[in-house]
Symmetry: C2
Subunit: 468 residues, 2 copies
């Protein structure tokens, strides 16, 4: 039984040759065991690193007879001395003095040595985190998560927790989940309470939904704190069973006052590069693993991203490039039509060959809050396209002129009275301001080479799936 | 018009006498204007600090005639030189060279100089962030938020984003919000789509709700990464209109493998003290403001917390203390009954006089996952009580023995088949493990002296309220 928090050593900190000669005590789980005539090898992992600590238990150890019965998956506490490894594959190993099996895993533990398909592992989200790939995924996810916060905090941005439950639903960003305390017509409902006819008023007294974005709230904060960001869960009730869609995902949304589209682009480029560089630095072994096992060439791809100056083209220029390309696109190209993934990838991969901002889209295909350009036809939108994916960031300068915003909302039939507070931001100390959104989970896919969003989210929610 | 991100100075960085002689350019909002015969004073705030930068614009400035018309709330860009202040109340001021009114606020801007009640300010959540109190609240909230992440990251904890949408609902932590894509019986419903009789299957094909806790998912991660934490939004559909209840709030939930209740207590004490000390250090001016204006004695209260060794008593001892107290409590006291707020405050304020862990509660009044003690009657729970509030942290050592867990779940009629994965954690490498939950918003109330949770949450959700 563990006397907790006292003197455990983190395995990641022991794997360096500098640890040789150190006495240590580790707590973790057995990945494999090999028993020979005179000794047993245990590969022990505590989640701190991809690499295991190899533990050597000599048959002469007191109580040795239990050790050959330790199964894969078992929890153990091991004390001993770090020595130079005799075998290959690791610099150091631990010469065990005491091996305690905390609990011996049942022999049907599903993560035996053979490799498993990701599809199978999705069915056991509670165990897949103990595999090499998912250990690496969630260590990188954690590092990237914190680097995002560090990035903004170092630059004086204030983090706001935008509300998850919202009454706004006119943003047009897709279908929304309804939040209610009423029974639904066809749901199982809760047996008690209510009057049997639906249970009275709903909790909020009006329709409430799960948010699709924290942007509008971030705009409020930007008008008080200048530079702010929201980083939290957002939702889409789209019935899309693709490898890139999840119903629940985290969005990074900075918003900056006194900032135009050029400033927005500069921040987005610096941000992406800083996050990539930081992740490579802190998660070197995990990133090398992804490069070897998941996406050969990943590290080159990221190095090229770091070395490139991002390009900027207008939507109008982009359409001209596509029309002149001679490519056979599946979807039509033409001024006024939205760019499809195939178009975005042609531009960033074949035509331009590096990350590219496309700016100044036709107002008809963008949201009501984007700032109308002087041409009266386009808005100050920006999408960042990167090779291998297409769009990774979407942003804009926001319409800060009250009259222009009212006119645009009326044109798009956005109910003005629901957005009274959004309009008031333009009445009391309005400023040019800009921001963007980056889907955290999709960025993680790009950074790790994992090709299914279900494999970078701890417990993914997709149509028909809400287990764990 | 702002050429964004180029050369703005953050006001917080200019307020020190070391800035005297510096040329600077600031962007912000006017808190007050006073126009004299030969000059105008503008108090400019950019959200970086409680203090404004006093700007002095001499009547001899080119274009001066506009400046006396700048209203409270207007957005401005000002360039000039930082000089020693002639007035009192600030060490430095800016001698303006160029003052640009970006947008002149309408004269009915609600935040004029007089102080407003918090109740009124709640109706204008989009503007209250520009007041002294709410500026301070959300700066402290941001600092505390990041200090929490730093605390865990420095210690090697992995952050997981626990799912917001969940199918679990048997934790007994209170009423849950339902998440659905179906129309509700009495709701307004969405006009299009569906077959008019409810619209087919629900999105997830089963009942889904908003999570009340990320603990169970954190337990999964702790069995792979040893030490982990969840920090995200959680929900309660309780129809409670009190100053301490919000429907949506953020919870901090660390979970540690190979950790018993004593280790859990040690972490909780160290955590609370580190967060308080860090907040005081980074937000000195804001915290002094709260001490002066919101809760006289706040800084003393927090200093005492930092200086105290937290006490630990068992529930059984606590009940004996209450029974021997001679106090006239409103609620009854007796072994087996839950402690009420008045009991908790008596213990930590009057009887013991410092923060106190109460441990080993009767199993009947605690959740199914708490570890049964050897007495067979109590579980390894811990509640941290602090003077002035009562309970601030709730935690436990979790039941890691599969048989004991099954028995307890059966006793409490928790459906075993819904928790098959939770049980499997006990079958494959189970370990003693522990964790706790701290409500971020309530902790912020305690740290700032703000007495209503609606005033520490950016956009609070309470019964009948989902504006903004």
């Amino acid at each position: 039984m563990a006397e907790a928090k006292s003197g455990r050593d983190i395995i990641r900190g022991l794997l360096d040759p500098a640890s040789i000669g150190r006495r240590a005590r580790v707590e973790g789980w057995v990945r494999t065991r090999r028993t020979g005539k005179d000794f047993t090898f245990l590969e022990v992992n505590d989640g701190s690193s991809l690499a295991n600590l190899q533990v050597v238990a000599d048959a002469s150890l007191p109580g040795y007879s239990e050790i050959p019965h330790i199964t894969t998956g078992s929890s153990v506490i091991v004390s001993g001395t770090i020595v130079e490894s005799q075998g290959k594959g690791q610099a150091v190993e631990m010469q065990a003095e005491v091996v305690t099996a905390v609990q011996t895993a049942a022999p049907d533990f599903p993560l035996q040595k053979k490799r498993h398909g990701f599809e199978f592992l999705r069915e056991i989200s509670h165990l897949r985190v103990r595999s090499n790939t998912f250990g690496a995924v969630f260590r990188v996810r954690n590092a990237m998560f914190f680097i995002v916060h560090e990035y903004f905090q170092k630059r004086g941005f204030i983090c706001l927790q935008a509300p998850v439950i919202t009454a706004s639903d006119a943003e047009g960003a897709g279908e929304m989940f309804r939040v209610t305390t009423l029974d639904s017509e066809r749901g199982s409902g809760s047996p008690g309470g209510g009057d049997g006819a639906g249970g009275g008023e709903d909790f909020f007294g009006r329709k409430a939904s799960l948010t699709v974005s924290g942007q509008l709230e971030a705009e409020i904060f930007a008008h008080a704190f200048h530079d702010v960001y929201s980083f939290g869960p957002t939702f889409r009730a789209e019935n899309s069973n693709t490898s890139r869609h999840a119903a629940e995902f985290w969005m990074i949304e900075p918003e900056m006052a006194f900032c135009d589209l050029a400033g927005n682009r500069r921040l987005a480029e610096d941000f992406i590069k800083t996050i990539v560089a930081g992740t490579l630095e802190r998660c070197g072994a995990d990133m090398a693993f992804f490069d070897q096992r998941i996406e050969p060439g990943l590290l080159d791809k990221l190095d090229r991203l770091l070395a490139s100056d991002f390009e900027t083209v207008t939507y109008t220029e982009a359409v001209a490039m596509l029309e002149a390309s001679g490519e056979n696109f599946e979807y039509p190209v033409g001024w006024g039509l939205d760019l499809q993934s195939e178009h975005e990838r042609y531009l960033t991969e074949k035509k331009i060959g590096r990350p590219t901002f496309v700016i100044d889209y036709p107002k008809e295909i963008k949201a009501f809050y984007m700032r109308l350009n002087d041409d009266g036809r386009t808005v100050a939108a920006m999408d960042l396209l990167v090779p291998g994916v297409g769009e990774i960031i979407g942003g804009s300068q926001r319409e800060e002129r009250e009259d222009a915003l009212r006119a645009r909302m009326a044109e798009m039939q956005i109910p003005l009275d629901e957005y009274w507070w959004y309009l008031e931001l333009r009445k009391y100390g309005s400023v040019p301001h800009s921001g963007f959104g980056l889907g955290f989970d999709r960025a993680l896919m790009y950074f790790t080479g994992m090709s299914n969003i279900r494999d970078v989210v701890p417990f993914p929610r997709t149509p028909g799936h809400v287990e764990f």
